[in-house]
Symmetry: C2
DNA sequence: CTGAAAGCGCTTACAG
DNA sequence: CTGAAAGCGCTTACAG
């Protein structure tokens, strides 16, 4: 499989490789029609394809960005990725996606690998476990955008849902449905992951706003594996909650599983709202009431910001970009 | 953001860049401890990271493979991708994933782009619309593995479900549940996509095997957008089917939607089996009976085969690798 | 309008 | 045990 190079094309066309290069880069300012035609023919005859690796080395840019998601199992991650890919395709950028699996060690490996591969910039859903690495990138002025999670003390453009608003919308809707014993369950709070913290915070504020008591037993932040336990505890209370807000799609599925296995009727025994509008929400029985994130817009904005930085067209101070959630009322409330 | 190069390390360590390169590639056969230490210190002091692009250019390999899926919306695709990524990670290969969106034009662009980026090999779920390109890769002996779909007349290792068996398992189970009016619905047959063709073929063989008549009205292969229509037609028959096999996960969701909107009780009015074990199958009400593909094993095998080809360790004749489906009985039958 | 030359940051065969 | 040199396949400033 002998690869054909620019040199081969130049020889066949009877010109120098500089000229072939000019042709490829569409700098025909002064190129004769004759030359163009000869090069074109040589290229198609040889089936020549430029070697992007060589070009990247010389140009010191790869037109490739990296995306590292903390956990690809969230439907939110996959939607954001799709939006980023679409935007990058439209702008002739390639994207390499990596899944850190909520593991800071994997995340660090991916960051190093992608930078070694000379990506022009990085969009990351940070695990939060690699402060020094994040700081190094910022210091080096390496194009970087965070999604979904705030890392305290770092000056990075960050794309976030208005999480407090999301929780507020859920509580408000529960209240409108005459619930007063409202709970919230989300995944582990030990690593201070922004959406979890903010959704609980928003939940508390909303409860106060509607004059409802904050009952600690109604608030859980535990690992996915312990959610069945947490639900058991919650439903053993003298006065269990009559409505629950699921902090994300994976928690929602755990709650649905618990309800199914314990014959808890939704919404009669328990009203339910999940953050993240999962694909099966409308066909589920009962159809799931959810809080949707504008994932597509968020992904697009992340890509937009990053490409602007790469092209040096983004001069503003790094800040947090908030996006509004939407309540989609179906049958679980 | 001045990048530090091997030259900088060499200077600081007081050696030549050849020696630094040897160090990096762990060829210490004859390297003095002293030299090693000096290089190590220089590297960490400067925060040096090798430029993989330069290495790739020189070595004429990138340790990167491309994966092009026909349609990433299928849960099967995402599972296979995960398996490929895991396998490649373990073998120090990187992977770039692209979604052709069932569009041969996009597929061609991705193939060309990935080859220009010098990937060492390609795993593709072929749309079937780029015969010349596939042929060119084979002719050039470019490492290539197909998944999910057979392209007639091409000699390529191909990873496939035993689709006829999958259909057989479903029909058999329906028969055991005393159904005789059994239908099958899948997405459009116009492009002769292997799993669709083979599943219908397997369905027909199974029907004959169990002495049941083959009723054309019970067999539909239409685009996703027309499935509601097809279902309407089917259920307007004097004798509509009492059991349906959904050809894939997306079709399954369309059928579930139809049933919900038309108050068709599953499984009482209609028994249902879907090919592909969707994540929400066990928590659905009723929990979904499915035919699972061993997606993880299939992805692993695809990656295994490809890496062997890349390393020139795969000398056998290209062939089709079949994997067995599994029936998972839940509540929809 | 086109070409010769230098250089991107590595690796590697070879010399010593 | 280590270094000088060539070369991977491009791009680009410059000369003519």
């Amino acid at each position: 499989m002998k690869r054909v190079t620019m040199q081969d094309v130049a020889k066949l066309a009877g010109v120098s490789k500089s000229t072939v290069s000019q042709y490829l880069n569409k700098r025909y300012d002064y190129m004769s029609e004759e030359t163009k035609r000869r090069i074109e023919n040589a290229i198609s005859e040889l089936g020549y394809q430029p070697n992007i690796v060589a070009r990247s080395l010389k140009q010191k840019k790869t037109s490739t960005i990296g995306v590292i998601v903390a956990n690809i199992l969230h439907s939110f991650s996959t939607k954001v990725i799709r939006a980023i890919e679409d935007f990058c395709n439209d702008n002739d950028f390639h994207v390499i996606v990596c899944n850190a699996d909520d593991d800071p060690v994997k995340e660090a490996n991916y960051i190093n690998m992608l930078r070694a591969k000379q990506v022009d910039g990085l969009i990351v859903f940070p695990t939060g476990g690699n402060l020094e690495l994040y700081e190094m990138m910022i210091e080096q002025n390496f194009p970087l955008v965070f999604v979904d999670r705030i890392i305290d003390g770092l000056s990075v453009d960050t794309i976030l849902l208005d999480n407090e608003k999301a929780a507020y919308l859920a509580v408000e809707h529960f209240v409108n449905c005459n619930h007063t014993r409202i709970g919230i369950i989300t995944t582990s709070l030990s690593r201070k992951v922004t959406p979890r913290i903010e959704r609980i915070e928003g939940y508390k504020k909303a409860m106060l706003h509607f004059g409802l008591p904050i009952v600690d037993e109604y608030i859980k932040g535990v690992d996915l594996d312990y959610i069945q336990n947490a639900l058991n505890t919650m439903f053993s209370l003298k006065e269990p909650p009559t409505a629950i807000l699921a902090g994300n799609d994976l928690v929602l599925m755990e709650i649905l599983r618990y309800a199914k296995e314990n014959s808890i009727n939704i919404p009669n025994d328990l009203a339910l709202i999940g953050v993240d509008d999962v694909p099966f929400a409308p066909i589920f029985t009962p159809a799931l009431t959810t809080i949707a994130q504008p994932a597509f817009e968020m992904g697009e904005k992340a890509a937009q910001l990053l490409l602007d930085k790469i092209k040096n067209e983004h001069k503003e101070q790094a800040r947090i970009h908030r996006f509004p959630p939407t309540l989609i009322v179906r049958e679980t409330t």
